[in-house]
Subunit: 363 residues, 2 copies
């Protein structure tokens, strides 16, 4: 291999793919990044066997070739050099990078030992604006189960119907559903693993335009002209979460989001180990109470507009903060649906495109 690339492009490609490279001691080849000439360009690839990422950059190719190079040193080295154009030469599994001022030899490995990142046959399911995909995944991410005890909850459900894409996640303590208007001819429902969602959110922040969404039996890919991410799909059936969403409420309260957020954070300082605080709503006001036998106690009262009866509810304050974080309106709606039923949070608008549920505490 003998090529010339632009430093900025290579640096960006490395920064996008290297995050999924882990210090894998059982399969050391995974600690590498694959550099490969392909169709007159340079493909930069990494995989952890769950997720594979290809990022393709322009290159002047004098001689085709490929090599697997340790991710850390390659990335650190490219970040540090000041040249705008970099010449990469591969011979005997050694990558040489030379300029007038320096000569470098980085020891690499045979590219044939690098795992193949599967190709999904090109039957595009949908073309989604990257920004929409990213913000929808961000909205539901916190509700994805971190534990793998129920594998089907360890990912985000993405459900394509005729006129909507619905994103949903629940760890059985809270649930988020976000829907996006979208004309689509396919119907499909799949669960994308948490790690894939995290990486996709990170990378999508660096991309523009649309992403092609593609699915096979057990894999999904997101791609554009320069970028492709392939991931496994979570095996299993997503629970029928819709039946948990209450269709009516007992009481409803309208409240300033930022003020509630600050108040809950302060009350949280005094919460017990299981992080619960108490909310007491009566006409015109909401009292937030928290008590801890080691630390002390606090009561904070803020203005609120209550519809129907006063109510009192205990909940984990972290869950409440996570819910407030994803609502984008200045005021938010809290719906009390009875003791032992979920507490519902919604934005104060007519779109009704997002709903956040906090399940009742089991004592």
């Amino acid at each position: 291999m003998k090529i010339t690339v632009n430093k900025k492009n290579l640096k960006k490609a490395l920064s996008l793919v290297e995050k999924i490279v882990s210090k894998n001691t059982s399969l050391p080849i995974l600690n590498n990044i694959l550099l490969k000439t392909e169709n007159g360009r340079l493909k930069v690839s990494a995989t952890n066997l769950e997720i594979g990422i290809n990022f393709i950059i322009g290159a002047k190719i004098d001689e085709v070739g490929q090599i697997a190079v340790p991710a850390r040193i390659l990335s650190d080295f490219i970040s540090n050099i000041i040249d705008d154009k970099i010449s990469l030469i591969v011979k005997n599994n050694i990558l040489s990078i030379n300029s007038e001022k320096y000569k470098t030899q980085i020891l690499g490995f045979d590219a044939k030992d690098f795992p193949i990142i599967p190709k999904i046959k090109p039957k595009p399911l949908a073309i989604i604006p990257t920004k929409t995909l990213r913000s929808s995944l961000l909205s539901v991410l916190d509700s994805v189960a971190v534990s793998e005890t129920r594998p089907e909850l360890s990912g985000v459900l993405i459900n394509f119907s005729n006129d909507k894409i619905i994103f949903a996640a629940t760890d059985s303590f809270r649930l988020t559903e976000k829907s996006v208007d979208f004309k689509n001819i396919y119907k499909q429902s799949l669960i994308i693993p948490r790690n894939t969602v995290v990486e996709l959110i990170r990378i999508a922040g660096e991309l523009e335009g649309d992403l092609l969404f593609n699915v096979s039996d057990n894999q999904v890919s997101f791609s554009n002209d320069d970028f492709e991410m392939v991931s496994r799909i979570v095996d299993g059936n997503y629970p029928d979460y819709k039946k948990v969403i209450p269709d009516k409420f007992t009481s409803k309260v309208l409240i300033n989001k930022e003020e509630l957020d600050k108040t809950v954070r302060m009350a949280g300082l005094f919460s017990t180990n299981i992080a619960d605080i108490k909310i007491n709503c009566s006409e015109g006001k909401m009292a937030i109470l928290s008590k801890n036998s080691d630390k002390g106690e606090i009561e904070i009262v803020i203005d609120a507009v209550l519809k129907n009866d006063p109510f009192e509810v205990s909940l984990n304050f972290h869950y409440l903060l996570d819910g407030l974080k994803i609502l984008e309106t200045e005021k938010v709606v809290m719906e009390f649906t009875g003791q032992g039923s979920p507490l519902v949070l919604r934005p104060n608008d007519d779109k009704k495109d997002i709903i956040y549920l906090i399940m009742p505490l089991r004592k």
Copy 2:
């Protein structure tokens, strides 16, 4: 106790003192901050038994008193409240903080259980501009031994003579000496523990004006009208480091500091586990070489002005970077004093107020 204080002042006082509060399980009272009315103001104190800090803020005092309050919750709470004025009421070892919107009770402890931070009898040794003290300590900090195997090296030597204060530190791998012109009537030499230096650097960044420097048999204090820090002194005699400093050189090279810094960082990527790189100086240029049997190798050549003979030296690149960091001139002087003798770094100016030595590698 019943007082009113300004939130900003209290928050600043807490942030300055709380860093030395550690999660001490053997002596839980040390996890607290002492609040005490004193001469019409509020004294905020913390100690880890090695270092004690008092910070005094203005207060409107309706009733004198004192209490020890868990540092974490007090600091988190004060950071979160929006009020400008805060009323603090202490009764039965409970600190109540109330306003129109909230009522809080923080459980505290009897102030009598809080360790007394010793008073040093007021015989001031020197009055030093805070900025000078801070920058001098920063210059020598990296050379202080982190290990306590030789306790006398685990601190900074401060040496007052008639017309100078000299700051010195060495971990036996490198040595820094910084001198400051200073008219002084006392002569004194003392070793200040590394942790004290770290905290003093941190706090001095928030202070203005001068600091009063005061010494007793086994303690030192730094203070101004609002602030006082008392620390133990390291017991022991500082080695006669002066004799290690070479009085002449074999070769001398003048080099651009930033370029050398970047080059050494790049070479460091290819260094071995003991972090050594090789420097090879000949007429008009300096070559930096590094080789690692796992990663590969690099050679970088930069411009340099050499006086006398070519030389070659191996050294730990971290030590070289630490040295470059404290030199403030655009070009720096490197003096080769022979194989088996220290490599010397100096700023390229006539002040000669700072010298950094890298001891030869022992193979």
